[in-house]
């Protein structure tokens, strides 16, 4: 009998072209996504007068600099010269190399980690790379997906392969069941707070257990997306019926005999019963309350019911200081200045529905912006009437892009302002110089919008979910 293997082992072995004497593997890349930030890599190619090895497996997406005001290509009208240049540069690079590019005028445009799955480009069993750390999102399908830097992006463009050393394996098993109003974001911030922002460094995480199995694909993507905030470059979940149902019938997903062939290949995509992980962590899902970050690193997070920590280390004091918070005070009740619902972490249709369920028939006390994860999600939400719920509550309904997650398009939180945000990084200055970010789930952001302060959403959900 062959050695029992983990899902990671199986994916790795399938994609390994060769391994060098140092133990680094040369992996074949099934999908490569590029965005405006890939300009460094294209410049490297140009320098060497090198072509793109597999344009049929490469896809360009305008997201990081996408303006969120206006519709379609008209979004460029009010954009700054720099934003315009970044977008046009990507489109030109893609055109030069025969790469399909989802630009502002394309109804399929959106955030790379949202549209890959949405278009059926992301599939179980693939290896997927993108010059973006949240590429781990695609691991939710049982894919080997990891973020790479510009030098590696150039390498993938030139060779359709990437050098990588096999990481150690970590299984995070979530037992029990999540309570109402608690979701994947809380689960993710919860384990990161427990293990630390570098707690899973050097590891590929496989999420497993009854809670993970019960999650929708949207929630699984949120969970895998945040792996990097706990230091893991890879997050993955074995594909099952939920995965197959999501994938089947999507624009670029296999159909007919190719679909049958794919199903047969995916059958083996799970960790064998006796396979061993380098590390195992078990979490009780029933104990998780909605989680909110209070500091400037994603592991500085607490249940919304908790008090802020005592300032007993330099690190904690510096974080409290930057965030303008006092130690020992309850986290709930902290006033916020604005809210943001968006990003590759939490801007899928389910996220928008969760926020709308809280906001329906209520008014936001603070200003805020809702940017759907893709233009298709935007259209779907409008069909469901979610846009009207947001607008009636007083929030701004805008076009799709990375927007206030990173502020490259100019959507920024002002210095000193406190933002309740569904994004993934509460780093100093991430949402703008001096901005203060509290990460939380879409439902929790909606609750903060209604009360104008950090609020436990659970009582507000009575009779609504």
């Amino acid at each position: 009998m062959s050695q029992p293997r983990t899902l990671l082992d199986k994916l790795w072995d399938t994609h390994e072209v060769t391994r060098n004497a140092d133990g680094a593997s040369l992996l074949w890349v099934d999908r490569h996504f590029v965005h405006e930030g890939s300009h460094h890599a294209f410049a490297k190619l140009a320098q060497r007068q090198q072509g793109v090895a597999a344009p049929d497996l490469t896809f360009g997406v305008v997201d990081h600099y996408a303006p969120t005001q206006g519709q379609g290509a008209a979004r460029l009208m009010r954009a700054s010269a720099e934003v315009r240049r970044m977008i046009e540069q990507l489109e030109a690079n893609c055109a030069n190399h025969n790469i399909t590019c989802y630009g502002l005028d394309d109804p399929r445009q959106g955030i790379v980690h949202v549209i890959g799955p949405e278009l059926g480009l992301t599939l179980p069993g693939l290896s997927i790379n993108c010059g973006d750390s949240h590429t781990s999102t695609h691991g939710a399908f049982g894919a080997l997906a990891f973020g790479i830097g510009a030098t590696q992006v150039a390498h993938v463009l030139a060779t359709q392969t990437v050098w990588q050393t096999r990481p150690a394996s970590l299984r995070i098993r979530v037992d029990g069941a999540l309570g109402p109003g608690v979701g994947a974001k809380d689960l993710a911030l919860g384990w990161i707070a427990k293990l630390g922002a570098d707690g899973a460094r050097g590891h590929a995480i496989e999420y497993a257990g009854p809670v993970v199995e019960s999650l929708s694909m949207e929630a699984r993507m949120t969970l895998c997306n945040l792996s990097i905030e706990g230091g893991a470059r890879f997050g993955m979940i074995a594909p099952d019926a939920t995965t197959r149902d999501y994938v089947q019938g999507r624009a670029h997903a296999p159909d007919g005999t190719a679909w049958e062939q794919a199903l047969a290949a995916w059958d083996d995509l799970h960790t064998d019963a006796d396979a061993r992980f380098d590390r195992e962590v078990v979490i009780d899902g029933s104990e998780i309350a909605p989680v909110v970050t209070w500091g400037i690193s994603p592991d500085q997070a607490l249940p919304v019911t908790a008090d802020l920590p005592a300032g007993d280390s330099d690190q904690t004091r510096a974080a409290l200081d930057y965030m303008g918070l006092s130690s020992g005070r309850p986290l709930a009740g902290t006033p916020v200045d604005r809210v943001f619902i968006g990003s590759c972490t939490n801007a899928r249709i389910e996220d928008l529905r969760a926020a709308a369920a809280v906001l329906s028939g209520r008014q936001a006390r603070v200003p805020g912006m809702v940017s759907p994860g893709s233009s298709q999600i935007k259209a779907q939400a409008e069909q469901e009437g979610l846009d009207r719920i947001f607008a009636q509550a007083g929030l701004e309904w805008v076009a799709s892009g990375c927007s206030m997650c990173v502020g490259m398009n100019g959507d920024l939180v002002a210095a000193g302002e406190r933002c309740a945000s569904t994004t993934n990084r509460n780093f100093r200055g991430r949402q703008g110089p001096g901005a203060r970010t509290h990460l939380m789930s879409p439902a929790m952001v909606a609750a903060a919008a209604v009360t104008g302060e950090i609020t436990d959403v659970r009582p507000m959900l009575k009779g609504r979910i």
Binding site: D22, G120, Q160, W163, A197, R201, I228, G231, P254, A258
Partner: protein
Amino acid sequence: MAGWSNHTGTAVVLPRENVDTDQIIPARFMATPRSEGYGPFLFHDLRDEGFPTMRVPGAEVLVAGRNFGCGSSREAAVYALVDAGIRAVIAPSFGDIFAGNAVNNGLLPARVDDCTAVTLVSALGTGQADLTLDIPSRRIMLGDLELSFELPDPAATKLINGWDDIDLTRAHAEQIESYRASREATAQWVWPRAG
């Protein structure tokens, strides 16, 4: 990129943990072509906090806290360090993607245990001193101190030789081609359906 095995340079302490790539270089500078130089953007928004790289302009080695370079995959963070003259960062841990990007640009991410980190921090204090890093032996020399760091073999080989991966990979062109052919033959479903 030129390879290197051994370097002596001025070291300073950056006494912070979780220095993420947004702090190393804020996102708004990333539209700049590399040819213009990224040095001026290094720690741009933290300048008024008396960062050691500001105090000691000739610094070449940073001794930092845990989880240096966590966060985004932006290689621009490495460009900013390299263009500002930094040759090595010594820390108890690094963001995985950052460490890979560093090696691809000749910047040494030298991982040390907590005890070594404490020794270095107390030896340097808020001052500066010449420190030698030797990649083949994974040694750090500072005055009378001789300490060790960790670096995976593939990273060491690459730093020492200054190899360009794309050139290296060319040697495997046949293997890649036969991998591609067999994947196409056995897993046609992998190729995106024209939708």
